[in-house]
């Protein structure tokens, strides 16, 4: 598989803080690549450099064959993004929001078809600020797909969502991958990485400390003689919660 994202010795510093300390990795076409790490590990900085939103201080990065540092605008044309702590223009409906972003790419799209893809076609005429948290995340993904991107970047897509909405979003991400789109996501939920990602990179203090398929990371750990102090439960509280409240989305 060719690499759709190629990062070599990437560095970024904010004043005294070295947010990214020379990381190298690559993402294969068609995979779901996860970047894990605690808050402040440098995940968002890395992703925003790859999205062409921040300038790196050193190193190189290509996304979809385009040099990010030389042509950020070219990268933006080829990728789709969902940013952390961002928002949509107010007083626009879901459909108008999709059309607004299509206009930003100077493209015409079938907004209803995109909304149907994220299961929001029945909310097309509703103002986006009236949507629930999960619906807004799905709208966000719809707007990220207006340019049929080669890579979809999702920065902590399920943060703040209830269990039902999270699972619903996982299904959506799987279906996007099934369409052949590479997905690059950051998360600090390990179960999310385990369910969705073909490979994960674990970042800490600006460095990548591990990069492998989730299963292999676990096997390696066990191979090093690791045992959990408690007996593995057959179910956890989230399973109870979902069993009692169902998998159905609860959205107004």
């Amino acid at each position: 598989m060719p690499n759709i994202v190629q990062v070599q010795d990437l560095r970024k510093r904010y004043g005294d803080i070295e947010a990214v300390r020379g990381i190298s990795f690559s993402v294969e076409q068609g995979e779901v690549f996860g970047m894990l790490g605690p808050n402040g590990a440098g995940k968002t900085t890395t992703v925003e450099i790859l999205e062409g939103l921040r300038r790196a201080d050193g190193g190189s990065a290509t996304v979809a064959g385009v040099d990010v540092l030389a042509d950020p605008s070219g990268v933006k044309r080829r990728i789709g993004v969902q940013l952390q702590s961002s928002a949509f223009p107010e007083h626009l409906t879901a459909k108008e929001t999709v059309d607004f972003f299509a206009a930003c790419y100077d493209l015409t799209v079938d907004a209803i078809a995109l909304l149907r893809l994220v299961d929001l076609d029945d909310r097309a005429r509703q103002l986006q600020e009236k949507l629930s948290g999960g619906q807004r995340q799905r709208l966000s993904i719809a707007t990220a797909l207006v340019n049929s991107p080669q890579v979809l970047f999702l920065d902590e897509p399920t943060t703040g969502l209830d269990p039902q909405a999270r699972r619903n979003l996982w299904e959506l991400i799987k279906s996007i991958r099934a369409r052949g789109t590479t997905v690059f996501l950051t998360t600090h939920y390990l179960d999310e990485a385990e369910v969705l990602c073909d490979r994960v990179a674990i970042m800490d203090e600006g460095r990548i400390v591990a990069l492998d398929p989730p299963r292999k990371l676990v096997d390696d750990l066990l191979g090093r003689g690791f045992t959990k102090p408690t007996i593995q439960q057959q179910a956890n509280l989230e399973d109870v919660f979902l069993d009692l409240t169902g998998h159905e989305l609860r959205e107004a």
Binding site: S86, A87, A103, C104
Partner: protein, 364 residues
Amino acid sequence: MRQTARLTSALLRAYARDRIALFFSLVVPLMLMVIFGYLNLGDFGRVSIAVDDQAKNSASKQFTDILRGIETLQLAEQPAADALTKLKRTELDLLIVIPSDFAIAPARPGQTVPQLTVYGDDARPQQVAVGRQIIASVIDRLSFAVTQTAPVVGLKEESVQGVRLRYVDFLVPGILGVNIMQLAVFSVAFALVADKQRGVLRRIMATPVRITNLLTAHVLTRLVIAAGQVAILLLVALLLFNVTIVGGLGPLVVVALLGTILFLTIGFALAGWAQTENQVPAIAQLITLPQFFFSGVFFSKNAAPEAIRPITNLLPLTFLNDALREISVQGATLWDVRTQILGLVVWIVLGFLLAVRLFRFERF
């Protein structure tokens, strides 16, 4: 072109749904115009005078009858004590006390003439001055009549304005100007700083949108709204207050749009500088409030203290209001107001440079 048009149409649609924005850009200006239009703030009003006639003779009656016949004066007979209290409460402008020895007769040499005492309310100096002047001239005429002489110089009075200028005629261009300023500065600054804070601009900057197109869309949106605002205000001015736009609508609209562009650049500069929405009202007031009072909105710009007039004459809103007023009231053409237009253009260039310096999209 197409991208700009699509973005503009989206922004306009969002604006039309924004009740708060509509309230401030349409309802508030209308309220201002209607309230001030009816208040007739610039109207001088009448000078209210109390007369305490202690003579109660034919001469004093003749004197008060003449005063009563003058339209500018409003006369009432009142004992001096009551009237003085009213004067202190500024309910009266003047009090005339007619002494008991009042007479209209030639004074014999060496004899003292009767003394009229006039009390004035210092809080209303203009009215007091006018009232005193009228009383003095009435006394002069009575004296001429009695002494059988004629004034040495005659006076023929004519109004400077061809048509009588009412306060609303003066007010409407000022209201247009001040609302253009408020709309452009506040709507751009508030909207863009909110977008900046909420992360809307960050999200948009993650697309390959051309920044010039996005900015143009924001400018076009405000120009359309400003045009609508001007149209509605003018319509109300024409229908409700019977205002005549002597110079015609064309030049008026051209100057109004120039003014909008000018204040938009200031709004963009402010939006670029401010980091949070809380900073916007403070700085916006700092920019607009002095112009509100010193640029000739509700009263003449010459009401500003002499010392600061060289500065107030150069304020952006002064140029805008002067141009609008000369077109509207005096029928000036665009060529006649070229000085003001030049002033506006200079401010547009300054505002544009400031906006470019302060507004950095890459920072969001």
